[in-house]
């Protein structure tokens, strides 16, 4: 491991190797048993929920169950309304745990901004010229061990320090946005049922399951870059990995979007 290191780093290399040898790990607990219990519990609660729904459907004619269903409906309406007040929005953002993604739930108010393709709001670039303009490493999807070349690459830099690299895959039906700052989404996201918490290789992610919302980039202060406001027609997967926020816009399914996201190299 240390053959190509200069003596200066050879010292650190040898120190790390000695430390690793002497390192005292605690006894490994029985993780498999815990995982088994958790998966069992999840399976059981899904079964209970499914059977409850079935029973509710079957028993709707009975007055007591009709009343129970009404209570459930009221509770659902209260929750949906709560999501449009600012504190709840904040709570929702906390729930999703993405520090560079802002989402506001609610209808589109006023005329929506136009649907724009990257070519109309960002500058065409090559992969290498785009790489020169951003501090993070641009990543692309890999299929069967081969990097997927984008049909087109663009750089959006409406605000200093807020460059966004966009790789367009027309054939494969997705656009991949990468930014050191983040993204904003609002309107056309009527309730949390359109948002799904998921993960990309263990990183928390948000899936906006349909289009019809407004998106924009954030600058390096976390402010919306107004010039980039546009309507989005497709579903969107958002996640952060090591300081870079990714946005995948696609008509593909969530599973396919995650497969693309997890293949980035």
């Amino acid at each position: 491991m240390s053959q190509q290191l200069t003596p200066e780093y050879g010292e650190i290399d040898v120190l790390l190797r000695a430390s690793a040898r002497a390192f005292a790990y605690p006894k490994t607990p029985n993780i498999a048993a815990r995982v088994g219990i958790r998966l069992d519990e999840e399976a059981r609660s899904l079964t209970i929920a499914a059977s409850f729904i079935e029973r509710l459907r079957a028993g709707m004619a009975r007055p007591v169950l009709r009343a129970a269903a009404a209570v459930l409906l009221v509770a659902a309406v209260v929750i949906a309304s709560a999501l449009v007040v600012p504190q709840s929005r904040e709570a929702l953002a906390d729930f999703f745990g993405l520090s560079h993604v802002k989402i506001e739930i609610g209808p589109v108010l006023g005329p929506p901004p136009p649907i724009l393709s990257p070519g109309s709001f960002a500058e065409p670039a090559t992969l290498s010229s785009a790489q020169e303009r951003v501090d993070f490493e641009i990543r692309l999807p890999v299929v069967d061990g081969t990097e997927m070349a984008a049909d087109a690459v663009y750089v959006e830099d409406r605000s200093p320090g807020a460059e966004v690299v966009i790789a367009v895959y027309e054939e494969a039906d997705f656009d991949l946005y990468q930014s050191a700052n983040g993204f904003f989404g609002k309107g056309g996201i009527p309730s949390s049922d359109v948002l799904l918490k998921t993960d990309v290789h263990g990183y928390e992610a948000i899936w906006i399951s349909r289009g019809g919302h407004i998106a924009s980039s954030l600058d390096d202060q976390g402010r919306v870059v107004v010039e980039t406001l546009r309507s989005v027609e497709r579903a969107t997967l958002l996640w952060e990995e090591m300081g870079v926020t990714y946005r995948l816009e696609t008509s593909l399914s969530l599973d396919e979007a995650i497969r693309i996201a997890e293949s980035l190299r």
């Binding site: 650190i12 040898v14 430390s19």
Partner: protein, 174 residues
């Protein structure tokens, strides 16, 4: 391996068990996206280390390990430590120094040194080519040296001595 990887990053036994459990559940749910043509261990390590790094990002706290180290240091003023204890303490201090590095650097150092994965496995685990692993590891060592110089300068003579001994042994063997 999963528990150890989690423990190195979250630095607390109970938290590490939770992270490993969470990572296994996520891996189980994501099995559909796993490419059966690729090795499983780096894929799992990637999920474990991602979950662990996310968990530390949201809860910066003084770790149990650091507290244990502080207790050991206090006790060390009264009792002369034996060689094994001294090595373990030094190991924990190096571990604490590594924790001052950015998440990416920590992950690479743990993968290559503490978990002893190959360069190819480490590359699979972070989703980057082997060449990138080499260059990033070199940068991580450079940053770690700076951290040690600033915060743990007494470890440097030890590192120099270890290197000298290793070179002496290698010369004696040839």
């Amino acid at each position: 391996m999963a528990f150890r990887a989690a423990y190195l990053i979250v630095r607390d036994e109970d938290d590490a068990a939770d992270v490993a459990q969470d990572a296994f559940v996520r891996a189980y749910r994501s099995l559909g996206t796993f490419d059966a043509g690729r090795p499983f261990r780096p894929w799992l390590l990637r999920i474990v280390t991602n979950v662990a790094l996310n968990s530390t990002r949201s809860s910066k706290r003084r770790s149990a390990a650091t507290e244990r180290l502080a207790r050991d240091s206090e006790r060390g003023e009264h009792e002369p430590p034996d060689a094994a204890l001294e090595a373990a303490e030094q190991s924990e201090r190096v571990w604490t120094a590594v924790a001052d590095l950015p998440g990416d650097d920590q992950r690479l150092i743990y993968l290559r040194y503490f978990l002893e994965t190959s360069e190819v496995e480490a590359a699979e685990s972070i989703g980057r080519p082997v060449g990138t692993v080499k260059s990033r590891l070199h940068r991580a060592l450079k940053r770690l040296r700076r951290v040690i110089e600033d915060g743990y300068p007494d470890l440097l003579p030890l590192a120099t001595q270890l290197l000298r001994e290793e070179r002496h042994e290698s010369t004696a063997n040839t």
